[in-house]
Symmetry: C2
Subunit: 255 residues, 2 copies
Amino acid sequence: MSAASKPMYQQLKDLIIGRISAGELRPSDRVPSENELVEAMNVSRMTANRALRELTDEGYVRRVAGRGTFVADLRAGSHVLEVHNIADEIERRGHSHSSVVIRQSLQHARGEVAKALHIEQGSDVFHLLLVHRENGTPIQLEDRHVLAGFAPDCMEQDFTTVTPSAYLTAISPLQEAEQVVRAVMPNAAVRSHLQMRDDEPSLVVLRRTWAHGAPVTFARLHHPGSRYELAGHYTPPGTPKSATGTVVELEKLRQ
Amino acid sequence: MSAASKPMYQQLKDLIIGRISAGELRPSDRVPSENELVEAMNVSRMTANRALRELTDEGYVRRVAGRGTFVADLRAGSHVLEVHNIADEIERRGHSHSSVVIRQSLQHARGEVAKALHIEQGSDVFHLLLVHRENGTPIQLEDRHVLAGFAPDCMEQDFTTVTPSAYLTAISPLQEAEQVVRAVMPNAAVRSHLQMRDDEPSLVVLRRTWAHGAPVTFARLHHPGSRYELAGHYTPPGTPKSATGTVVELEKLRQ
DNA sequence: CTCTCAAAGTTGTATATACAGGCTAGACCA
DNA sequence: TGGTCTAGCCTGTATATACAACTTTGAGAG
């Protein structure tokens, strides 16, 4: 579990990452070429190639055929926040998730919904309104519109057992999404559903999801500001999927 | 620029992504093994290996030595939000960024700051307080504490020309970060600095940044709720760096 | 019938080799 | 002096081969 077990290409990557991290190699500096690594480290060129290629994919370096490999510009401060499905998020905290369906109806799309879904005013859409609870406490009001043609059996679903999100991703995989996060003052209806104080702001996530190249659902997710936050952990390039599972200990720091 | 020019390993990737995207291959289904691809597509095993390995890195499939390659669980709803440096963000919008330094002093770390930075109460920290403006309008109040030992020349910097973020990333590359987003009601001081209405909520980003394995700076970034939002565009796995540059057209949809 | 173990299939890594194509410096020519 | 062009280095891709390690299956021994 210690050192010698790592594969050679990984050792090469670690070596170069180490030099960059230590400041020995700075942005736009040239890093050893494949052939130089071959001679210095006594490996084959394909192994050196794999190391440098993966470092490129992970954003550490930039390669130019004919010129060489250079330290990348260290993305000037772009941090990542992962926004999870509310049910998954609650479950990951080890808490219990439940939801109450307030409305589940077929409607005609009006103004902003029609615009968001790229459909004509008056087209059929399903409207879902439900409250998600964490250990019994309201934590999210989900106000969702779904293209009627995309989910014909939407009215037959029991959304207290399967969340709309899970239902929709089961219909069609591999979707694209766009989202916006805002701080707003909720209206009385939202406040009531989420059991919020009069002067409490709300964290709102607007999310529009695509399937097969067209938007199919648009959701407004309201959260009580005093009981909800988005948390994210960012580690340098080489960590595409470890964001899940990192623990955030930044809890007691209220302004 | 059309079809035949793509390298073989990319054609293999596209072929398998196509089958997944079309629903022909569903999560946990087995995808062709390397040797099967070798025979079917008339390529060498290393080429098939590269295609499947990259699909693994990009999250499309999951591989188990001895068993095979299987379609991954299509991340059950994990969406990504990129949070950029405020100056970069403003510049990307084609607007002008300026900032006003309100405080730049050496202090002794108290309570929450000491805790966030993992240092003793009373340790030396620099305190920076500045307002960032977009086309003259206040858009962010940056309240930052920096470990004194990490940036000894912090007091000599002119933070109206180089943002604290740019200054700090120049000192040490490759850092780790943790952040939390909240909706809160700002106090009078914050409201005043950001020229906010009395009943306007604030979107707050708490960000703690590591270097060399230890936290070195802790920032509270306050934004006026009516003039600021976080936006993100999510495209399926194979898009590690294209998140920058996607246009969000979800603007006029107020709750 | 049950246990053991070997065979076959699978991924993971590593090497040697080959050719195509981009880029640059310096030799060479006019 | 000035322009051209080639030799040499670099990355990008592709192949053939080899061995290690893991998993399942089934044959064979007891």
